[in-house]
């Protein structure tokens, strides 16, 4: 009994549950789940926590983290920081110096580069109960590589990487976004905006040229016509459910083979 309980606990923090809606969105945009998550991780930078200047991709990524932490409302102080408080404060002081208004003409890329040294110092000093490994396995074959920035953000807010990743994935729903867009309603979801950017090539290196099957072509035709076909459905929730049905069906046919 004890063994079962123990193994369940370890599995819980490591195993990443990929929401169906996220899988569906990746299938429709022909993205690999691992790639999208890795782009997200790579754009989470500690420096953007301090400097609020808009930084394409990076601002959205850090906001996802901030929103998750705020929603969790867990105000206990990180043990990991307690043990290296001096180093931590020194390094954060350095980051604030870089973010000072007098450096405002520097590009964000440069400023992030300058911040790297301080972040590496924190990373060396900090204890890592939440990110004991740099790698997170999604299945036997694919894993995500955690950056020092990402690990530090897990430690200072007492969160497991899985929590951030699942929050990111959970914010994505094509059916919901398209239901709002079709009814011309504002869709305030910056995580989705970030996902859309990745879908159109942001942060990815593989050129997105795909051979589409007959079935897929039919689906994309249908997808383009759907806003018109559903014109008479004026409720967001109703539209969302209808779109969701069609998108899920496509996901199922694509994953049959």
């Amino acid at each position: 009994m004890y063994i079962i309980k123990y193994s369940m606990k370890t599995v819980n923090h490591q195993h990443i549950a990929i929401p169906l809606e996220f899988n569906v969105a990746c299938t429709i945009y022909k993205l690999s789940v691992v790639e999208v998550l890795q782009v997200f991780i790579n754009h989470v930078k500690l420096y953007n926590l301090i400097d609020k200047t808009y930084d394409e991709g990076f601002s959205e990524a850090i906001h996802a983290i901030i929103f998750y932490v705020r929603a969790k409302e867990q105000r206990c102080r990180s043990k990991a920081i307690n043990k290296c408080e001096d180093t931590f404060n020194n390094c954060f002081h350095q980051l604030y110096t870089i973010a000072e208004p007098k450096n405002s003409e520097l590009l964000m890329v440069k400023k992030r580069e300058y911040a790297e040294h301080a972040i590496a110092t924190i990373f060396e000093a900090i204890e890592r109960p939440y990110t004991s490994s740099d790698k997170i396995y999604l299945d036997e074959y694919s894993y995500l590589k955690l950056s020092p920035d990402f690990c530090i953000l897990c430690e200072i807010y007492n969160c497991y990487p899985k929590e951030y990743l699942e929050y990111f994935m959970g914010s994505i729903s094509l059916a919901d976004a398209h239901a709002h867009k079709g009814l011309k309603l504002r869709y305030n979801n910056f995580v989705f905006d970030f996902f859309k950017k990745i879908a159109t090539g942001f942060g990815r290196d593989s050129p997105s040229v795909h051979e589409l099957s007959e079935e897929e072509l039919d689906f994309y035709d249908l997808m383009a016509e759907l806003p018109l076909k559903l014109y008479h459905i004026r409720g967001v929730e109703e539209r969302f459910l209808l779109l969701q049905k069609v998108y899920h069906l496509h996901y199922k046919t694509m994953n049959k083979h």
Binding site: G182, K184, E225, P227, L228, K229, H232, I233, R234
Partner: protein, 125 residues
Amino acid sequence: MQTTITLNLSEDFSALCCIYQIKPDVFLQTLADQISFPSYYSNPMGNDRWATFCFLNFVQEEEPKYQVDRVLEERFLHELDAVNDYNIYASPTEMEKSKIKITEVMNKWLKEVLSNRSSYIIKNL
């Protein structure tokens, strides 16, 4: 209802009409005949669906420029959806029934719009 409309025909459209020897007014008349919510929604896969599609696309894209009573639109579109029995196995007679019901909804909608407009005018006398 008869109307005399003056239109500027684009080069491409008049070229096509010339090539296929179609009188522009005949073509536009056909197009206008096919724009119909009752026939589209009672048979969305019908061969005559494209003209209504074109109309819907116009409304979807250009709507902000036109004044539409949103609340009424929502109410009657909902009603339209509720009376429509269309499904992919619907037989022609069933489609015809749906078409009649939708036409009734459209008439009610038009009546409501007109009565709202006339009461608006009277109020401002």
